[in-house]
Structures are given as C-alpha cells and as structure tokens.
C-alpha cells in the first residue's frame, strides 16, 4: 500500500512540526534583539547576558541544582534498593500500587498533601522540604527503570558468584551492581531532569522567602506576572539542558526512555 504509507509519513512529519515548532520558535526568539515576536531586529545574545547578570535567576538556578542533586542521590539509592528487593518475587498488587502511585497522582494533589503534612507538623519550609518532597516521585521513577533492567537479569550469575566463593556483599559489589549500573544511571538522570523541571510541588513546599525559590518557580512568576524577553533565553537553556540529559540517559541505557 504505497499510497497509504505516503500519507502516513506526511502525517508523521506534520506531527513532528507540531511538536517542535513551539520549541524552535522560542529558541529563535531568544536570539532576537527585539525580544518579542513583533519583529526580527537582528541576531543578538544580549538576553543570555542579562540572564547571568540577574541575581534572582542565578540564585534560583543554584537552588534548583542543589534540590535536584540531593533528591536524585537519595532517590537513586532508595529506588534501586526498592527495585532489587521487589524483583525476585511477584509483588502484591498493594505493593505495585504503592510503587506506581507517585507517578499517577496529580501533582497538585501531592503538593497540597505535602503542604498540609508539613504545616501540621509545624515543619519550617525551605529547600529541604522541597528536597524531601521531590524524592517521593523520583523514587518511583528510578525504581521503575531499574526494575525494567532487572527483568532481563540472569540470576544464575549471582549464584555462580556465590558458588565460586564470594560473599553476598562481594557479589553485590562485583557482579550485581556493575550489571545494573546503566539502568541505575539512567534512572538517576531521569530523576534529575524531573526534579529540575518540577514546579508545582516546589511551589507549595518552598515556603516564603526567595532563598528557597527554584528556577521553575521563577519562570512561573516571569510568565504570570511580567513577561520579559530574558525568558526566551532561559527557556532555551533549560530545554537544551533537558534534551542533553535525556539523550545521554538514552545512550547509557538503550531504549529505557522509550520503554518506561
């Protein structure tokens, strides 16, 4: 059916245009001297310069990196351990539900739940509360990715190691971990990306004060309350950053990004 496939391919390319046009427009605009799409007045990187000069933006970026790094490290350790524990046996549906819940629950509901929780405990809010909250959904994603990797794991290799005289710990260190490492790394990169981009949970659990503002919170404020042209440069950088992380993750752990 050559005709049909030609139509299908045309449709596919239209879909790609639809998906990438907005992104490309933003990227183009970031280099527009005029800043807004009213007219193209020439190529300029001025807006990028203004970004770096703005202390609110740089401190927000710094905060975001801290939150993402710490929550990723915690979530990767817990999520990997969770995946290892769950993989040898068929998990009950309750356990499966628990592992999937953080990914399905609407982020606004999780956000208000966490806010209520912290308020009830009298917990002061700040970057630390964002970190604690981000770990929640990151655990689920890391666990899911590592579990996918473990599904094709040949457990007789673990027994072989023990048979050859290795202790449980040595076996984990020299056999299991190296074999699942690409999956763990990919999960970590994904968790990092999600944390960097996450807005609403951060918004609710950051508390007052600009010392705990993350980059998405600042972007939201910029969009809602005063669009300035730096935002296009900001958008471009953030997107390129995400793309790079995803591509690296895909490289390390072939096919996981599409499979999960």
């Amino acid at each position: 059916m050559p005709d049909l496939s030609r139509w299908l391919n045309a449709h596919l390319w239209l879909v790609y245009v639809f998906l990438y046009a907005p992104i490309l427009v933003l990227m183009g605009l970031s280099f527009n001297r005029a800043g807004m799409p009213t007219a193209w007045t020439g190529f300029s990187t001025a807006w990028y310069g203004k970004l770096i000069e703005s202390p609110e933006i740089t401190s927000a970026a710094f905060n975001t990196l801290i939150v993402a790094s710490v929550s990723t490290v915690i979530a990767t350790m817990l999520g990997t351990a969770l995946a290892l524990g769950v993989s040898r046996r068929r998990p009950s549906s309750a356990l499966e539900a628990l592992l999937f819940a953080p990914m399905i629950i609407p982020d606004i509901v999780l956000a208000i739940a966490l806010l209520s929780f912290y308020t009830l405990l009298g917990f002061t809010l700040g970057l630390h509360s964002i970190i604690l909250s981000h770990v929640v959904f990151n655990i689920a994603f890391v666990c899911a990715i590592v579990r996918t990797r473990l599904r094709h794991f040949d457990y007789s290799v673990v027994e072989a190691s023990v048979d050859l005289g290795a202790s449980e710990f040595t076996t984990f260190l020299r056999v299991t971990l190296p074999m699942i490492w690409p999956g763990v790394l990919a999960g970590a990169l994904l968790a990092f990306t999600l944390s960097v981009d996450e807005f609403i949970i951060a918004y609710f659990t950051a508390g007052p004060g600009s010392s705990s503002t993350t980059l998405p919170m600042r972007i939201y404020a910029m969009i809602r309350f005063g669009v300035t042209p730096e935002i296009n440069a900001m958008a471009t950088i953030v997107m390129l950053f995400s793309f790079t992380l995803v591509l690296v993750s895909q490289r390390i752990n072939k096919g996981t990004v599409t499979r999960s």
Binding site: L12, L82, N232, M239
Partner: protein, 284 residues
C-alpha cells in the same frame, strides 16, 4: 539471612519514605476533607460531610464537568492524531524506529512550564500564528486563540501527544505479524485487515493510553492556569485557589478527594476491561 528477609530489608527504606511522605500526607488530606475552615484560615475540627455536599453544588459541578469535557476533547484529539503517527513509525525500517520514537519523546521530557509558555507566544494576538495568517491575508483581525478553551485543549494535546504515540506504538508492536499476513492470505484488502485485525487488537493499548491521558489532563493545573487566562476554571485551579487564595483547606481537600475518586474509578474500569479482554482470549 534468608532471601525473603533480605528483600524486605532492601525495600524498607523506600517503602518507609513513600509511607511517610506520600501515604501519610494523603491520609491527612482525606481527614481534612471532613472538617471545616476555621475563622482565620485554620482548621475547625468539626466532623461532617458539608464539604462534599458543597462540592456537589452547581458551581462546582460545572467545574468538574468542564474539566471532564476538556480532558475528553484533549484525549480524543490526541488519540486521533497519535494513531496514524504511531502506525507510520511502526512501518519504518527497524533501525530508524528507535530514533523516530526518541524524537517524539524528547519534547515530553522538557520543562512543561516552558512548553506551555511557548504556546502563549505562538497563540497570542501578536503571536506568530496570528501574524502569519494576517501576513498571508487569510484574516484581517487577530483570532482569539489564546486564554480560552481552545488554547487549553491545544496545550493539553501538545503535552501528552508523545506519550499517546508511544503507548499506541507499543500496542501495535505487540501484534503478531503473521496475523496480518493470515488476513491477507484469506483475501482481505489492506484497509479491511486494518479494520478487522489491527485496530481491534490494538484497541486495549489505545484505551490504556487514552485513560492515562484523560486522568492526567483532568488534574492538570499549569495548562489551564497559563493558557486559560484565569477565565477557565478546571479542577486543578479550584484546588489551587482553595489552598492559596480562599484558604479553605478542608474544601480543597474534599475536591482533591473527589478528583482522586474519579481517577481510581477510571483506572479500575480500564483494568477490568483489560482483564475481560484477556479472558476472551487474544489471537495467539
């Protein structure tokens, strides 16, 4: 140490974290929904169902129905657009398929605030679409395509399209290719093979993807907030308002509960339908 004990020890920290930072907060929300808003925005611990009866009032019922309608529109459009795209990818040579899929998924992993903002740029009166259409002489006045339902649906479709494409693609891949060949061998032309064999067999996967998108759309906050211009209230915005402006946390909690309830209902219905489909036996 027995294997069982070791498994549980490994899972303990993760489960513990999820219990403390997800289950407990959700339980708190559950309990809050039965209480009342205190005079200064705190909580009055008076037990009752008033929040739920309030949620059933016409004002809020409309919000739920609007959210459902918008989510449904977005889901249907996404499915209709995604299916041919997924099919096209599945017809491509094996080596290219991974790359095509990756290209589809990349936007999905970028910041959703920014993706939504991009549509503000495109859709506003001075935005590219309007200026392009005016420049070509198609229209005289700029189209009001921002800060309304159209923009919100577009934004939702844009957000979730890659996911639906992936889900449908996976569903198509799972079909045994010899089934298509058998259909051809028995005399069916291409389109009939599609209608009678491929489509029915991929339907469960499509439905799963659709339910997922619907559930994600209905609880979405950012898209209606940024693209709806404050005029369009969906459930997500309602919850946000109750917690940050109206400071009626119990009511917000009740609304959240209703939202979760609807979601669970849909997910269970879908799981049940999948089970029934598997009982009827799929083509081996």
């Amino acid at each position: 140490m027995t294997p069982r004990l070791r498994s549980w020890l490994l899972m303990l920290p993760g489960i513990g974290w999820l219990t403390v930072f997800m289950i407990v907060p959700c339980l708190i929300v559950f309990f809050y929904s039965f209480f009342e808003r205190g005079t200064y925005g705190g909580i009055d611990y008076i037990f009752g169902f008033q929040n739920f009866s309030r949620a059933a009032e016409p004002v809020y019922r409309t919000i739920f129905l609007t959210s459902a309608r918008i989510a449904l529109e977005a889901t249907l459009i996404a499915v209709v657009v995604a299916y041919p795209a997924a099919y096209a990818i599945s017809l491509a040579p094996k080596a290219r398929q991974t790359r095509l899929l990756l290209l589809v998924m990349l936007p999905f992993w970028s910041n959703y605030l920014i993706r939504t903002y991009a549509w503000i740029v495109l859709l506003n009166r001075e935005g590219l679409i309007n200026r392009g259409l005016r420049g070509m002489g198609v229209i005289d006045e700029p189209l009001p395509i921002l800060y309304n339902e159209f923009a919100v649906v577009t934004g939702l479709v844009y957000n979730y399209l890659p996911f639906v494409i992936l889900a449908i693609y996976a569903s198509i891949q799972r079909i045994d290719p010899s089934l298509r060949e058998a259909s051809e061998d028995l005399g069916a032309p291409g389109w009939r093979t599609f209608l009678r064999v491929t489509l029915p067999l991929t339907l469960p996967g499509v439905a799963a993807g659709a339910v997922f998108v619907f559930v994600l759309s209905i609880g979405n906050f950012i898209t209606p907030d940024l693209l709806g211009g404050g005029r369009l209230q969906m459930v997500g915005n309602l919850i946000y308002d109750q917690f940050l402006s109206a400071r009626d946390w119990p009511f917000g909690a009740a609304v959240s509960l209703v939202l979760i309830f609807i979601m669970m209902l849909l997910l269970f219905a879908q799981a049940a339908a999948v089970n029934r489909a598997q009982d009827h036996g799929r083509a081996a």
